[in-house]
Structures are given as structure tokens and as C-alpha cells.
């Protein structure tokens, strides 16, 4: 799925664009936390996440999620996002953040 998101807003937008394999998103609900695993569809400047083909790691605990295939998650409730390590280049990410910081200073 193609990702559409603003370029100049944040380094992490470009970072999220580069993913192709499924990611895990850990979300806290009011009482419980649930891990939703899915393919990243899009991200916006608030880091709201749209996932497709989702699966819940603990279906017995959250049976209501069985029928849900795509979801939109508000960025503010996400606690962690677990990304496939081999798709992340941390050095490059650091450089991107540094460049952006430089740009903002100028």
C-alpha cells in the first residue's frame, strides 16, 4: 500500500514510509494493553497509524477484534511500535534527525 504523508513535517514520517513488512503496535486501552500486528498503511504528522491486515496477538483475550481487518489508531494512545529490526537503519535515522535539527536551526 502506498503511504501518503507530508514530507517536511517530521523525520519519522519518512522513516515510517520505508516499511513493507508487518509491524507491531502496542496499544494501551483503559484497562488492558493489546498488541496489534499489521502492515503499515499510512502515518500522519500526529503519528496516527492505519494498519491493514491486522491480527491481535491474543485473540482469546480480545475476541472482538477477530473480524477487524483494517484499523485506524490514534497516535496518542500508542505506547510502543515494534518494528522489524532488519528494516531499520539506526545510523541513517540519526543522521536524518540531525539534518532536520540543523535545518530547523537555520
Amino acid at each position: 500500500m502506498g503511504l501518503v504523508m507530508p514530507l517536511s513535517v517530521c523525520t519519522f514520517s519518512g522513516f515510517f514510509k520505508s516499511f513493507t513488512s508487518p509491524i507491531h503496535v502496542l496499544i494501551p486501552c483503559s484497562e488492558v494493553t493489546s498488541v496489534i500486528c499489521g502492515t503499515l498503511h499510512s502515518v500522519d504528522q500526529y503519528l496516527n497509524i492505519k494498519l491493514t491486515d491486522i491480527s491481535v496477538t491474543d485473540p482469546e483475550k480480545y475476541p472482538h477484534m477477530l473480524s477487524v481487518k483494517n484499523c485506524f489508531i490514534r497516535g496518542s494512545v500508542v505506547r510502543y511500535v515494534q518494528l522489524p529490526a532488519d528494516e531499520v537503519d539506526t545510523q541513517l535515522l540519526q543522521d536524518a534527525a540531525r539534518k532536520e535539527a540543523l535545518q530547523q536551526k537555520q
Binding site: G2, P6, L7, G14, T20, Q91
Partner: protein, 771 residues
């Protein structure tokens, strides 16, 4: 008051002063009169003037009302006229064209206009300026100037009642007089989200007089006389009587089943707005922007859920729950108006979003995954991909009570905004991570291909459209004849809110602990500074290629200067010191990102500078090893060091070996223990570095015939000591080196006998077979 008619009649008196005073007063009063009322005040016939003005006022509203063809006039209309005049006058006074704000216009002009007919119901301020001008033209007798800043939300025209045989295209144009801007659509008085009133006759008698700025209000042209507000939430829908969500889907007055032909006739010729279609449908069909509307109708009327059915005669708008007339959810392709459905199908079988803006490598990866997923689904379903897909699609639509909350126009508006944000003048800078990541991937795959014999994939380069950055100078809105400027801040002219002043703390009252902490902070700060320099220097190659011929020497100088700065930062050059202490460098090397940075900087330094760094590292290696216990980042330094070694002269290599092994200066007296060496050998990096140094020394030795013969070679001497030390070191806890150079056996064979050679080999695991 005056006894005399004029001053001249006044007889002169002894009381000259008094009379003169009076005369002066007269003059003053006359002067005041003239000033206030002007010389024409007496001449003008105010009655005539009033009539003239009154005629003018009547003309304008009449002209506008003709256009609407609306016979009803409430008392609201008069009020509206007055406002409209005021607004018109205001609009004449405004100098700048607010709609030329690039934040809006660019977005609007990039998309095709859905309704191309001027004066249509659907024109809105989001249409391009061409449409607006077209609309203005035929409607106006006189040319209206620019758009006003204020837009009045004025009452909608009253509902039309049952539309029975009214063709939408015959309907007269909406009353333009409701908005101050001729040519812009009428704006709904009822704000968004207002719960709907009773089904019978909603009255829009409220009038909202507050002006609203242009940008904020999305337009809501009256699509149909909806007894339901267009923006009813599902909860509101449920509470409305006669809603199909509760009862049967069709009101009894309507025949439950219509053939496609009948449906087409009902709506045929009607000016169907795209908003009547299921927006969710449109959302799933990108690029399918309103063109073959007629083709869509029969399909829509088959009762796909979530649609607002168009108010054909007798219908009232409602959300359709699954109507009994719907064909059962098909496992196979449903029967229907064949050609139309087929059209739709061919246009959008699967939701395939636009991937043209992605890097080709990324696109390839995505399509691979899509293929995989599709294959999986195909295997799972068994009934065929399309069928299964369609049935889930149908289910999805049927159960979707949240459809139609937004009009298609509004959705386009939002996507326009998002697309605007994608425009970039310098994608390399703005999207650094993405671009570089996929470049690296491509390089990797290219390198692999070079090694292998596989077919060459096309090495497509990502070419992103680059938008030239237009300088839009924002000119604030001014009114004629006013003093000063409005202080209005908009998105293009932001106002400074907070004046933040940076104050630096004084160093006097800090305690020792703080100083220690600050030292680390200072080191971190220096590292970041050096990192910025490093990123710049790494970027120079690209800039060099992009620059002109004349600029290149300047670029090179800049680059050299930056490299010198980097080195100074690393070594901590202090004035007055001939040889800088190692302390500064060691501090940097204690921090993980400092080590990585040094590894990246090394290739840019000159040989002497780099050698200096290497020596300092070797000197302080045990300390660094101790600090690196947690991070284990030192091995990243190995490859730049190895590369460097190949440029070093033999003398340097010799002294380096000495430093590394902490060899005693004189060969004669061996030290009791060599903790330095043990520490080095027990560390992966240390051992690897040592082996590389030895190997390099051996290469130099063997390649240089002159030194081979000479026995009193510093290298030879050092080697003797080195081998002795190595033999002394216990084997326990020796690390596993990253790589083992191949010429070490031959190296050691020069200096030790066979037995000791075997010992060394075993200890250092020099021979591959032993491992």
C-alpha cells in the same frame, strides 16, 4: 435674535467692542456652518437625493432575486439585502484578493473540477478561480471586484417541498444574494452537526449574522431538501422516526423494487451530484472522479449499504439497511446491469493506491508483498479472489452506518491539503531517511548482482517532481481610507507569540558533581557539533556534482576547512599546548556515538591526522576497552583503522605496535607482567587490531627487499620482544578476533623456532584448522 437683518444695518454705536464681538461670532458661526455642511448643503435637494439612493438599493436586490426566481420573500430577505449591500460595499473596499492565498488556490487547481457547468449547485469556493469567474460572469450585471474577507453565513433558501416532478436541472439557481460574494455558493445557516428537526418541514429561519472567515467554512450547498441533515451522526439517525435502520428499508409509498431501467429513468437527466453517491465508494476508487455518473446509478440503487439514495420522487433520504430487494450476497458475481457493473469492475477490482510517488525499490517490494498476500487469500478462499473480495466488500458497505458523513467535495479538499504537503522543493533534504535508505538497498542489491550471475534488474532512479519554491509575499488586508493595518495572523503570516530569550548560566556556583556532569555534557555537545560537520562533509560529493564549475574550488576549500575543524574538535586543541593531551579524545571515545563518529571521520582525515588518532587510541586502549564493555562498539573502528594502516610508513607501524603491546623500551629487561597487553588481547577489537598491525608489518617487511637483509631493523627488534610477550601471555580469556590475516604464520616463523611457533599458533588460533 438679531434685531437687524445684516451687519451692515447695524448702526455704529459707542459700544463698538460689543458689536464687533457679535459680528465676529456671526462670522464664526457661518464658518462653522460651512465647514460642517459644506457649501452644497443649502443647494442640494435632499429629497431627490434620497430617491436616487432608494432606487439604487432596489435595483440591486431585484437583479439578484431575478436570478434565483424565488417568489417567496420572508422578512429575512429584506434583512439579507441590507446585509448584502453592506457586505458588497465592504468587499469593494478590500484591496487584496484573499482567495489568491496559495494555501488554497494551489490545492484547488490541481484537481479537476467536478462540475463544469457554471452556476451549478455544486460550485463552491473550493473550485478553481476559473470556475468562479465563469460563475460571476453571467450572473452579474456589474463586475464585482475581489472576494471579501468576511463571508456571512446567511440563511438558506427555504425548502422546496416535495420535488415530485421537478427535474433538478430545471431548478433555478440558488439565491446568490445570501452571500456577499456574488458567485460563491449559499452557505447553510445551520451549523454542521446540528441535529435535524422534524421530518415535516425543517425551518431554517434562524439567521446567523456572525461573519466567518473565508478559510474555515466548508460549503454546504443544498443538495436536496433533506429532512435529515447531511451530517447526522448514526446515533441521530437511529433516533429519527421512520429511519430505515429501525424499520423496513423502504417507506411504503415507494415500490420496493425498481428495475434498473426505471431507476435510470428516475434519475436520468437529473443533475446528479457526486455527493449523492456513496463517498465510501469513491474513496475506494481513486481516480474515478465523478465522470460516468450515469453508469453508477443502477449499481448504487441496488441498495448497497451506506449510501444516501437520491431523493427521487416519493423517496425520502435515508440510510438503507439491507433491503429485501437486494440480491443475496453473492458467492459468484451478481447479476445486474451488466455493462455498467463491468465498467466499474474493470476500473477498480482491487483497492490499488497510487504508488507512483514511491521509490522504485519500495514499489517493487510492496508489489511483491501484495502478490504474496493475494496468493494467500486465493488459496484460503477457494471461491476466487474476486468473489470473496466482493462479498466482503458488500458486507462492509451494508453494515457501514458511518458512510456519507463527509461529502465528496470535502474529502477531496482534505486530500488536496495532504497532497500539498507532499510537494517538496528538495526531496533529498526533506525526506532524507527514505531516499538514502532505498539508495543503500539498491547499492546492496547491485553489489550482490555483481557477484552473482543473476539477471540484471532495471536500475531505475527515483525522479521526484520538484516544485519550484515560489516566494509569496504576504500582504495583509487593507481597507481603503483606514488608518493602519489590520493585525490579522493567518497561516501564511504567523505572528510571533512568545519572545524566548536564551540565558546562559554562570559557572561560578556549580559544585564539583555538576562540573563532572557538565563535562560529559560538553563532550556530547562537541560530538554533536562534529557530527553536523561530518554530515556536511559527507554531503559535499553530491553538492560538488550539482554545482557549477566556478563554485567548485570554493566548495573544496570549505570542505577542507570543515575537516580541519573536525580534527580540532576531536583532539581538543588548546592554545599554548604543543601536544594536546589525550584526555579530550578519550572522553569522546568513551561515548558510544563518539566512537561511531570517529569511525566515520577517519576516511576524511589526512594520513598524519589519522595516524595521530590511531596512536592515541592504541595508547589508551585498555581504558577504552574498559569503558566499552557495555557498548561493544569498538569493532566498528577496525575497518577504518585497517584501511589506514595500508597508508602508514613502516616507522609508524613499528611504533604503533609498541604502543599497542605496551612493549618495554629496552629489549633486555622484560617487565613482570603486562596488563596492558592482556587487556588488549582479551578484547575482540584489541586482538584484531593487533593482528592487523602485525600483518601489515609483515607485508611491509616482505615487500621491501632492503630491510629484509638488514638485521638491525627496528621492526625486527620489536617483533622479537613482541613474540616473547605473546608467548608469555596465558591463553585463558583470549578473545576471538574478527578476522585473522593469513600471513601471520610466516611472520612468526621468522622470529621463533618451530616449537614456539606451534605454541603461538595454538594460542592465537592462527591456523584455521584448529578452530
Amino acid at each position: 435674535m438679531f434685531r437687524y437683518e445684516s451687519l451692515e444695518d447695524c448702526p455704529l454705536d459707542e459700544d463698538e467692542d460689543a458689536f464687533q464681538g457679535l459680528g465676529e461670532e456671526d462670522e464664526e458661526i457661518d464658518q462653522f456652518n460651512d465647514d460642517t455642511f459644506g457649501s452644497g448643503a443649502v443647494d442640494d435637494d435632499w429629497q431627490e437625493a434620497h430617491e436616487r439612493l432608494a432606487e439604487l438599493e432596489e435595483k440591486l436586490p431585484a437583479a439578484v432575486n431575478e436570478q434565483t426566481g424565488n417568489g417567496e420573500r420572508d422578512e429575512m430577505d429584506l434583512l439579507g439585502d441590507h446585509e448584502e449591500n453592506l457586505a458588497e460595499r465592504l468587499s469593494k473596499m478590500v484591496i487584496e484578493n484573499e482567495l489568491e492565498d496559495p494555501a488554497i488556490m494551489r490545492a484547488v487547481q490541481t484537481r479537476p473540477v467536478l462540475q463544469t457547468q457554471p452556476g451549478s449547485l455544486n460550485s463552491s469556493i473550493w473550485d478553481g478561480s476559473e470556475v468562479l469567474r465563469r460563475i460571476r460572469g453571467p450572473l452579474l450585471a456589474q463586475e464585482m471586484p475581489t472576494v471579501s474577507v468576511l463571508e456571512y453565513a446567511l440563511p438558506q433558501r427555504p425548502p422546496q417541498g416535495p420535488e415530485d416532478d421537478r427535474d433538478l436541472s430545471e431548478r433555478a439557481l440558488p439565491r446568490r444574494s445570501t452571500s456577499p460574494v456574488i458567485g460563491s455558493p449559499p452557505v447553510k445557516a445551520v451549523p454542521i452537526g446540528t441535529p435535524p428537526k422534524q421530518m415535516s418541514v425543517p425551518s431554517f429561519n434562524q439567521q446567523i449574522l456572525c461573519p466567518k472567515p473565508v478559510h474555515v467554512r466548508p460549503p454546504m450547498p443544498p443538495r436536496y431538501p433533506a429532512p435529515y441533515g447531511e451530517r447526522m451522526s448514526p446515533n441521530q439517525l437511529c433516533s429519527v422516526p421512520n429511519s430505515s435502520l429501525l424499520g423496513h428499508p423502504f417507506p411504503p409509498s415507494v415500490p420496493p423494487v425498481l428495475s434498473p431501467l426505471q431507476r435510470a429513468q428516475l434519475l436520468g437527466g437529473a443533475q446528479l451530484q457526486p455527493g449523492r453517491m456513496s463517498p465510501s465508494q469513491f474513496a475506494r476508487v481513486p481516480g474515478f472522479v465523478g465522470s460516468p455518473l450515469a453508469a453508477m446509478n443502477p449499481k448504487l440503487l441496488q441498495g448497497r449499504v451506506g449510501q444516501m439514495l437520491p431523493p427521487a420522487p416519493g423517496f425520502r433520504a435515508f440510510f438503507s439497511a439491507p433491503p429485501p430487494a437486494t440480491p443475496p450476497p453473492p458467492q459468484q458475481h451478481p447479476p445486474g446491469p451488466g455493462p455498467h457493473l463491468q465498467n466499474l469492475r474493470s476500473q477498480a477490482p482491487v483497492f490499488r493506491p497510487d504508488t507512483t510517488h514511491l521509490h522504485p525499490q519500495h514499489r517493487r517490494l510492496l508489489h511483491q508483498r501484495q502478490q504474496q498476500n493475494r496468493n494467500q487469500h486465493r488459496n484460503l478462499n477457494g471461491a476466487g479472489d474476486r468473489g470473496g473480495h466482493r462479498s466482503s466488500h458488500q458486507d462492509h458497505i451494508r453494515k457501514d452506518p458511518y458512510a456519507n458523513l463527509m461529502l465528496q467535495r470535502e474529502k477531496d479538499w482534505v486530500s488536496k491539503i495532504q497532497m500539498m504537503q507532499l510537494q517538496s522543493t528538495d526531496p533529498y533534504l526533506d525526506d532524507f531517511y527514505y531516499q538514502n535508505y532505498f539508495e543503500k538497498l539498491e547499492k546492496l542489491s547491485a553489489a550482490e548482482e555483481v557477484q552473482g550471475d543473476g539477471p540484471k534488474k532495471e536500475r531505475t532512479k527515483l525522479i521526484t517532481p520538484q516544485v519550484a519554491k515560489l516566494e509569496h509575499t504576504y500582504k495583509p488586508v487593507q481597507f481603503e481610507g483606514s488608518l493602519g493595518k489590520l493585525t490579522v495572523s493567518s497561516v501564511n503570516n504567523p505572528r510571533k507569540m512568545i519572545d524566548a530569550v536564551v540565558t546562559s548560566r554562570s559557572e561560578d556556583d556549580e559544585t564539583k558533581e555538576k562540573q563532572v556532569r557538565d563535562k560529559r555534557r560538553k563532550t556530547l555537545f562537541i560530538i554533536e557539533k562534529t557530527y553536523s560537520l561530518l554530515l556536511d562533509v559527507e554531503d559535499y560529493e553530491r553538492r560538488y556534482l550539482l554545482s557549477l564549475e566556478e563554485e567548485r574550488p570554493a566548495l573544496m576549500d570549505e570542505r577542507k576547512h570543515k575537516i580541519c575543524c573536525m580534527y580540532d574538535n576531536l583532539r581538543g586543541k588548546l592554545p599554548g599546548q604543543e601536544r594536546p593531551s589525550d584526555d579530550h579524545f578519550v572522553q569522546i571515545m568513551c561515548i558510544r556515538k563518539g566512537k561511531r563518529m570517529v569511525a566515520r571521520i577517519l576516511p576524511f582525515l589526512s594520513t598524519e591526522q589519522a595516524a595521530d588518532i590511531l596512536m592515541t587510541t592504541a595508547r589508551n586502549l585498555p581504558f577504552l576497552i574498559k569503558k566499552d564493555a557495555q557498548d561493544e562498539v569498538l569493532p566498528c573502528l577496525l575497518s577504518p583503522f585497517s584501511l589506514l594502516l595500508y597508508h602508514l610508513p613502516p616507522v609508524t607501524v613499528t611504533s604503533l605496535l609498541q604502543q599497542l603491546m605496551n612493549l618495554p623500551q629496552s629489549a633486555a629487561a622484560p617487565a613482570p607482567s603486562n596488563p596492558h597487553l592482556s587487556a588488549v588481547l582479551q578484547n575482540k577489537f584489541g586482538l584484531s587490531l593487533l593482528l592487523v598491525v602485525l600483518s601489515r608489518g609483515e607485508d611491509l617487511q616482505s615487500s621491501d627487499p632492503a630491510s629484509e637483509s638488514a638485521q638491525s631493523n627496528p621492526w625486527t627488534e620489536v617483533m622479537f620482544v613482541a613474540t616473547r610477550e605473546l608467548l608469555r601471555i596465558p591463553q585463558t580469556g583470549l578473545a576471538k578476533p574478527i578476522s585473522i590475516p593469513t600471513n601471520l604464520v610466516s611472520l612468526f616463523s621468522r622470529y621463533v623456532d618451530r616449537q614456539k611457533l606451534n605454541l603461538l599458533e595454538t594460542k592465537l588460533q592462527l591456523v584455521q584448522g584448529i578452530r
